[in-house]
Assembly symmetry: C2
Homo-oligomer: 245 residues x 2
């Protein structure tokens, strides 16, 4: 029997690549998407698509309304920054920071892992492209492993938890090359912080191409020498990027 | 200005005592109740009552449906054990164990703390009466502090987080004596895993007196030489404990 792993899956480029990596490593992958009051439910739909396409053994969605806590442009009504260069992105912790997000997400993954008797967690943290989030650093991941070993029934019985972060040392182009080498279809994924409805296709969305997440993604595909298969606002006929509000 | 603290408040005896302790220590207390799909919403009502009575600077309720994960009699449809002696309670990790609960709850408290610029968390973990929960041990608490210092914007800037667990070394009688010495009115609190509706008072509940939580609470009041002011099923006229389903 394959060892089980819990893979945090947002439906974005990074977490989808992690799932492809974990499948290739031979884990029986259980996927967990956390609905923490994101602005765009299109993320949750992308996670479902990716889970199905990559053969998740079981996909769970867990609601957690972080809006009750506040503190981020992704869950509150602050403005998502646009058109920033990388220096501006890296200069400080961005307003899109969700407080203690990875602590909470890994905690929920750990809860699911306990019920499945899994001791492996997989998450897409990345120290290079991390845009100033403190909970994406390797030392945070090691501290979480130490916590998991003390926090759980399995750990109390001697099991050792591992948090796999296969993207930790890769730049975005490296992530994309890894995913493509594993056969991942990136048209299934969703990255944009601020997508626009696609007037030609009800229910579908196009990426803005201007938020930090889009800019990093586009740069990654450019540096990997590959086209990005998702639709951008600029691909939509008759809709100017600036005509949206 | 007083330092701010985030106090995890379930409305039970332990967390209510923690709030009284933190107020007495001079913290400006922000209280957080997590609705993780408990069987009994009466717990959330108790938390609101206690927060108001003890002057919480702000009480937040956060929904988190742990039933999507399962693994516990408190959130699933397993039977709550009754009439167990302490040896049976302590023999193994009980079915009322919620997987990774304190990791998740402290993670959410940490998220709220970040938005309030608070570096103090207060929680009711207890190593003596802990009934076999691995995430109630002092070494778990120390590991969470280490994680918090790495996980947060404030920690990255040099702040040091402290998780206060004023009940860690107290037995239940000691907790009750502490709370009474701080003037806490325990009739506001709710402890029972399996309460019954009070037919004489619509909306109100009586404690079963037979689940592990009730038995530990009753023993605590007995050993402290004090009466427990909450209503028990056996106090209800014309209702036998066994007539409930």
């Amino acid at each position: 029997m394959s060892a089980r792993a819990v893979v945090l899956l947002s439906g974005g480029l990074d977490s989808s690549t992690c799932l492809a990596w974990a499948r290739e490593r031979g884990f029986e992958c259980w996927t967990l998407a956390v609905d923490y009051g994101q602005r765009h439910r299109v993320e949750l739909e992308a996670a479902r698509r990716v889970a199905q396409a990559l053969g998740s053994a079981g996909h769970r969605e867990l609601k957690l309304d972080l809006r009750a806590i506040g503190g981020s442009a992704l869950t509150a009504d602050l403005e998502v920054p646009r058109d920033r260069d990388e220096r501006a992105m890296g200069a400080d912790i961005p307003v899109t920071y969700v407080p203690a997000r990875n602590t909470v997400l890994l905690g929920l993954a750990l809860a699911l892992a306990e019920t499945l008797d899994a001791h492996d967690l997989v998450a897409g943290m990345n120290a290079l492209d991390y845009s100033g989030y403190p909970d994406c650093r390797p030392e945070f991941v090691r501290a979480f492993e130490a916590l998991a070993n003390l926090a759980t029934r399995a750990g109390a019985g001697g099991a050792v938890f591992t948090v796999h972060t296969p993207l930790m040392s890769l730049d975005k182009a490296g992530v994309i090359r890894l995913g493509r080498s594993l056969g991942l279809d990136y048209s299934l994924t969703h990255t944009c912080y601020d997508p626009a409805p696609d007037p030609a296709s009800p229910g579908a969305c196009a990426a803005c191409g201007r938020c930090d997440a889009c800019l990093l993604r586009l740069k990654g595909f450019r540096e990997a020498g590959l086209p990005d298969p998702v639709r951008y606002v600029t691909d939509l006929p008759g809709l100017e990027p600036t005509s949206r509000t």
